[in-house]
Amino acid sequence: MKFDTPAGQNPIDRMQVVGRAHDRLDGPVKTTGTAPYAYEHHADVPNAAYGYLVPAAIAKGRIASIDTRAAKAAPGVIAIVTAADAGPLGKGDKNTVKLLAGPEVDHYHQAVAVVVAETFEQARAAAGLVRVDYARGAAQFDLDDALKTAPLKGGSSDEGSAAPPVDRVGKFEEAFAAAPVKLDARYTTPDHSHAMMEPFASIASWNGDQLTLWTSNQMVNWGHEDLAKTLNMPKEKIRFMSPYVGGGFGGKLFLRTDAVMAALGAKAAGRPVKLALSRPVMANNATHRPATRQRIRIGAQKDGTITAIAHESGSGDQPNGSPETAVNQTKLLYAGANRMISMRLAVLNLPEGNAMRAPGEAPGMMALEVAMDEMAEKLGLDPIAFRIKNDTQVDPEKPERRFSQRQLARCLTEGAERFGWSRRNAKPAQVRDGKWLVGMGVASAFRNHMNMASAARVRLSQNGVVTVETDMTDIGTGSYTIIAQTAGEMMGVPAEAVVVKLGSSAYPVSAGSGGQWGAANATAGVYAACVKLREQIAQRLGYNSADVTFQGGKVSSGNRSADLAKAAQGGELVGEDKIEFNKLDKSYQISTFGAHFVEVGVDAYTGATRLRRMLAVCAAGRIINPKSARSQVIGAMTMGVGSALMEELAVDKRFGLFVNHDLASYEVPVHADIPHQDVVFLDEADDKANPMKAKGVGELGLCGVGAAIANAIYNATGVRVRDYPITLDKHLEQLPAVA
């Protein structure tokens, strides 16, 4: 199905199954521990041996020698694989850095070897006996130092956020110089770890030259293709399965070393191998959200009209890597005649930087939305009024492109009313509640929506059961449920009656889960397949497919009606199709919008910040399942609290590693950090997006949260911190004296 004109009325508009708050269909198997995650396919692979990774002990250099004799002689050891005995390996298209070191080491904790043994304990103990001697090489681990000479560089996050090296509209420098009110401020964001609950894990099983891999991956087809490339074998000889994923946040978008090393280990061992990365290895072995150094300049007339806006960002990555596209949203969020964005990319020998939830916008909004708050104060305007003043219904760089839907102003005003924004004291450091300095902050939320081709197959069996098959993944988001709702709506049955099969390369290629594109595109693919199946059903029943309706388990046309099951009595019917997009997202800018409101308390003595209230108002097209969408947004808001207040991979610039590489030292919010969270979805249906009229929401919930918190802290304390995370040490000594 080609989607190239706005969606007209269609069966989804009935909103009898879609749009309802529906419990997760996979909830019972997950809460009873019977949903097999990547490491747990005991039923399929009862005789797996255990693989354990040997990670590199240096960040940059060469492996001088590896001595595996002691490890090979250790109890239970079956095989050891290093680059020297793995045979020639390719590199996946989506991997910047190869997944097995040797002889060069590209980053700390890059895989050097896998040890396979009869038990997990034996594999782990033997891994500790592998002796590796290294020759350290020259390296750069200091982002600020490297950025001094870093070139301009464009790039794409592959997740809806992209920008050229430099982009200009009008004459920024002249307009900025002439502006009566200006801001020129610098902001930093640190490296972040995905820190998902389920570690990277895979089970590999060979049958001759055929490989079956159970893994934890957000994008089955990307992983499938890159595994084939890495192992230099035809994709058709690999079955790649990822039916349940315990969190990914972008860390599992790509093929990772667990899959490759499980496959190599299984081949060498001559039996299936399961391998999971241990927690302390994950932060440096895998990818991370790169740190940024950002500069924002805004010039405005005294009435608040922005006349000049510039956003520059620098980040670092491995050679041939890509920049964190932190400037992207500044191309689209606010009006202003004279504009400039640019990005620089430094070469660093830290682990590979790559996508993490809302790449680009997440750190970009953490800077831009603080700059807007600072500018509003300079102008003496309410920060909401200042944003609305510079709202735009067209792409500011290409005014002929309208936004398909843009209710940013309504998100801000409706949020303000619900949150009691009028009670905020615009003058900072005025409100006290016992020992707490209390402040409120707001930020816009913005995240692009991406269209991605997505295919599905829908079967109607002879006994009338509707089954959906697609390689879409459910990474904790609720894909199983919304796909069942979509097929249920289309076929006129309850969601519970639909069987949903996901996460296998045997099924049609979907959009996968990433960049908040999963829900809208994968369900649109299911919609397309259901349209095909409906046509076949109508044909089989001899109905005119133009006026057939599917409702209550029945198929009706005019005054004729039949049970759905009857249509397949003569044999199973199968509809398969792919939703494809071409030009609508060129003629329209398709984005999602929102507003984040927070109230914080800052301990007047210790400077520690604790959240008191949070509200997100989102305008993101049709919400397919308000319950799972709300879960996505509150989870994203929680991640925003982490990035505002505590999350930071600490770089050791001498040895080139993230030092705090476990969950005791890389702190993410705990329950006690999260106060009451409210989420409101504005009633919206975006007919330019897809037949579902839905857009993404899972990353919108993150974009802007950090800035809203930063702005609230400023409102509480009067101290502006521009370096995330805003830990107490950064404003402690500027707080009022207490002793």
């Binding site: 001498r654 040895f655 705090n660 005791a664 030292s665 950090d673 830990t727």
Partner: protein
């Protein structure tokens, strides 16, 4: 994790004798030791499991204090009615640490013996004199935001990470032990944890095989009890700085700091200045401090955290 042998001790002196052998360690709750064994920071050859030794009661002493068995769990100790009534600084400190699950398993003696949380100690690729004597200290000149500001040495700048011991320090607790020869002694908690000096691998003054049997608390000292723990998140994090304090109605009292030094940091001459306010106390308590750029904030933070306690004591 290296392979190890295991025995379940039947009596205290036998346990001490078994653990006096080179490479042997006691195992109680295991909440710290087993984690460290998995990443080969700890590589004992032999474990002596002491869980059957009793030591799980809290009894009143003839002096009017409490004798806490070494195996009393953190949960039970914090919840004990006498502790909550007379030593609430201890309850407050314990519940400020770890999580419910860990406190259910962690023992009183084990809590005193928990090892530092310095990230370089945890990474066996990094030099660490505490883990491998003589290998150097990667933390010096590295990422040191959590690390010590006083009492540290040029061999090690780690901290003792616990909360419970900081409260015990203001309560003047004693650590009771038995050794392989059956000798018993009571070590003032002030002397129990060592300053690192040239031997950061030795956390405490315990001799090889010396087994903690109990911690005794002297009779209650009244006053208002506080444990102010400052950290980046609201729970489940080690202290950046903590303050254990008992403040009397006249404004005098006792105060010890956690998260700053190799041991709970109490300077009696400093706490005598409590009536003069927090700044006077910390100026004296942290005289000679050697913070790094990353952790210099701990000094003003200690002052401000103590000021918060003093303000609460007056409320």
């Amino acid at each position: 994790m290296k392979a190890f042998t295991y025995e379940r001790a039947k009596d205290a002196q036998g346990a001490a004798r078994a653990a006096a052998q080179p490479g042997a360690k006691f195992l109680a709750g295991g909440t710290n030791l087993l984690d460290l064994m998995k990443i080969e920071v700890e590589t004992p050859a032999h474990l002596v499991d002491v869980q059957d030794l009793g030591f799980d009661k809290i009894e009143e002493t003839r002096e009017g204090g409490l004798r806490i068995g070494a195996l009393v769990t953190n949960t039970d100790l914090a919840a004990d009615a006498r502790v909550r009534r007379d030593y609430s600084v201890l309850t407050r400190a314990i519940v400020a640490g770890a999580s419910g699950q860990l406190r259910n398993k962690a023992s009183t003696a084990g809590n005193l013996l928990q090892r530092t949380r310095c990230p370089y100690f945890y990474d066996t690729n990094m030099a660490c004199n505490k883990r491998k004597p003589g290998s150097g200290c990667a933390a010096i000149g590295g990422y040191s935001r959590q690390l010590g500001v006083i009492g540290v040495s040029d061999k090690c700048i780690a901290t003792f990470p616990g909360d419970m011991a900081v409260a015990m320090r203001v309560l003047d607790a004693y650590v009771e032990t038995i050794d392989a020869g059956g000798q018993r002694r009571a070590i003032p908690i002030a002397d129990f944890h060592r300053l690192w000096g040239d031997h950061p691998e030795q956390d405490t003054v315990l001799k090889p095989g010396e087994l903690i049997t109990a911690v005794t608390l002297p009779k209650p000292i009244g006053g208002k009890h506080f444990y102010e723990k400052v950290r980046d998140r609201a729970s489940y994090a080690y202290a950046l700085v903590s303050v254990a304090a008992v403040i009397q109605p006249d404004g005098t009292g006792r105060v010890a700091f956690g998260g700053v030094a190799p041991r709970p940091w109490r300077v009696e001459a400093a706490e005598a200045l409590l009536p003069q306010g927090a700044a006077a106390v910390t100026a004296r308590a942290f005289q000679g401090a050697t913070p790094t750029k990353d952790n210099a904030f701990k000094l003003p933070l200690a002052t401000r955290a103590l000021a918060s306690v003093i303000a609460q004591s007056k409320a």
